[in-house]
Amino acid sequence: MKQTLLYLSILLLGWLLPGCVKNEYDLSKVDTDNIAVGGELVMPLGKVRIDLTSLLPGISSVKVDLPGTFPTLSFDIDAGFDTGILDQLDESTPIYITAAVTNCISEPLLATITFSEDENREAAPVVLFDKAQIKSADQGTTTLTTSLSMEEFRRLAESCMINFDFFTIDKQPKNDVEIMANATLQFVFSVQKSGGIKL
């Protein structure tokens, strides 16, 4: 009697356990090829800060008399920043740029901001902003956003000139326009990546 009950219990256990086994949870078949960490990530690439004071030593402002056309203003910059981190990213990853323009001009204008390898612009410049509206200095800081391809960003990183082309918004300003010496431009470069970083 005792042994029979013992055997029956073991048989019952042996019968129940296979019914509990979930073959779809076979731990020998774990696919780890698609592991990614981070979901949606925003990652800083770097900053470029330009003070016109340093680009125009001894000059308090650049005055553009009216009426007339606005000449292209080009300044030497010391770019040449390291883009090695881009090698870690997919070549199709866009680079996002946020620009903060402060105390730049005395009247609101449209501005095209480009980076070029030389003053003569023999190589096609990288257009960062095309006729973007810039607030006047007394209207506060202008924030602009855009994106570049990775190839464009690499060219920008090798640039040594920053160029400004100004245009009137809808009519000729009443007053002459001054490019303020204490203008600052800050460009923040970042990457927005979906799907996380694959491990």
Binding site: L17, N34, G38, E40, K47, T98
Partner: protein, 458 residues
């Protein structure tokens, strides 16, 4: 009918003590009057007969418990085919994982191995002598860590507070002598004194881990501590090339223990009171004790660093990129001092109502374990069957910690020559082909083999 107020009061009392989660020892066996293991749950509970555990396999206990994570939170069926993928697979929706998580997610694995054990009656007194080893491990992971892994920063940036990450491990051996005796026809008291030899104690904890991510900077602010106590522990220090400070080389830890790293003691206290012929109340405090680890076997380190990454900087005079990400987990040695760690103390409060001349009993048990990383509470309802002299069985249901799809079972066979016990609080309703529970946040398995001795005077 007179018992109704007692049962109601017991239920309310038990519920008041039950606040969070589960597990620790085999609660299902608490009311099994023939199982030797019951005296380890409450020293005032005595098995019907004395016993001698068969060395090494006389008493083996394995437990896993978590307040949130089960295997099916970590692994998911492949959405595009057969097999499994991890929760980090980009095809797995973050909400599938995150909805089940708590703010602090605790996991622990405990192993208890009885080396020697004997229990015997002298008159009405019941004595036990046990030699055993314990390994207790615990991990605490904040929900933010999983959220970061799945969702990242978003495109607008995000801050994560990852404080209270912790890993700890304690291992010790114990020699325990227990004694219990009926004080009256209704009241039985018992106690157990344990001498403990600490084998290893390690804890790594980050009290502060703040992660801030935005498009212009990533910042991490961390403060942590490391404590290690093991006999003959030798750790090499490295020199920081930048500031000349020393830090603990985690890759160069030499452990060749030749004895305990610390000593301690603990007591178990238990009481049972037969309120009536059918109703018995009981309570116990188990592993109320500590281990004191000597300073000469201890190493203590502190980590505190701030890391900022902004990428390249052109035009700014001051350098903004600071810190070294690797340094966040560099622990600087501080003067070693003796440490005292407490055991994972468990509080049991229970009541059992029996019918049919004690052949069947219904029990309600509240167990609360006070761990170093968390407090686990479980409420267990059990039906206990004692149909014949040499066989008993219990079925239990634990409310709080098992996603409402598991139950416990324990069997005790005690023919004249052997006593065989096996039980779990979380019967495996779904297991992998490798016998790993799929959807349970807790699992335990207890096994015992002993030779029965003579019956005692109950």
């Amino acid at each position: 009918m007179k018992k109704t107020p007692y049962l109601a009061a017991l239920s309310v009392g038990v519920c008041l003590f039950s606040m969070q989660l589960p597990a620790q020892q085999l609660r299902t066996a608490y009311f099994m009057d023939k199982a030797p293991i019951r005296s380890s749950l409450n020293p005032a509970l005595r098995p019907e007969r004395g016993y001698v555990n068969i060395p090494a396999i006389g008493n083996i206990q394995f437990e896993f418990m978590s307040n949130s994570l089960a295997l099916d939170n970590i692994l998911y069926p492949n959405p595009n085919g057969s097999g499994l993928v991890t929760f980090l697979d980009s095809r797995i929706d973050a909400n599938k994982l995150l909805n089940d998580l708590k703010d602090r997610n605790n996991l622990s694995i405990d192993l208890h191995s009885g080396i020697f054990g004997i229990g015997f009656y002298t008159g009405k007194s019941f004595w036990t002598v046990d030699v055993a080893t314990h390994i207790n491990t615990g991990v605490t992971l904040p929900k933010g860590l999983f959220e970061f892994a799945k969702r990242g920063s978003g495109y607008e940036g995000k801050a994560y507070d990852l404080k209270d990450m912790q890993i700890d491990l304690t291992s010790y051996a114990e020699v325990a002598i227990g004694y219990s005796k009926p004080v009256s026809d209704r009241l039985t008291v018992g106690g157990k004194v344990k001498v403990l030899a600490g084998l290893a104690n390690t804890r790594m904890k980050f009290d502060k881990m703040h992660l801030q991510m935005s498009q212009d900077r990533w910042e991490v602010d961390a403060e942590g501590s490391l404590e290690m106590s093991i006999n003959k522990l030798e750790i090499q220090n490295q020199i920081d090339e930048e500031d000349g400070s020393t830090y603990i080389d985690m890759d160069n830890i030499d452990v060749t223990p030749q004895g305990p790293g610390g000593y301690g003691g603990a007591v178990d206290l238990g009481i049972t009171y037969k309120l009536s012929d059918n109703l018995t109340l009981s309570g116990a405090l188990i592993d109320l004790g500590f281990i004191s680890w000597s300073a000469r076997n201890s190493v203590i380190g502190k980590a505190a660093d701030h890391y900022t990454f902004t990428g390249f900087e052109v035009g700014d005079e001051e350098e903004i990129n600071t810190g070294d990400f690797d340094k966040l987990a560099r622990f600087r040695p501080v003067d070693a001092r003796g440490m005292t760690t407490r055991l994972n103390t468990t509080l049991y409060i229970a009541g059992e109502y029996t019918i049919l001349n004690d052949k069947i009993g219904f029990g309600l048990l509240s167990s609360t374990q006070f761990r170093t990383t968390s407090t686990f509470t479980e409420l267990t309802l059990s039906a206990n069957f004692r149909p014949i002299n040499w066989f008993s069985a219990s079925l239990s249901y634990s409310f709080i910690h098992n996603k409402f799809d598991t139950f416990g079972a324990a069997l005790n066979f005690s023919p004249s020559w052997i006593n065989f016990f096996v039980g779990t609080d979380y019967m495996f309703t779904k297991i992998t082909p490798q016998w790993v529970p799929v959807s349970q946040r807790s699992a335990n398995l207890f096994f015992g083999l002993s030779v029965p001795l003579k019956k005692g005077e109950q």
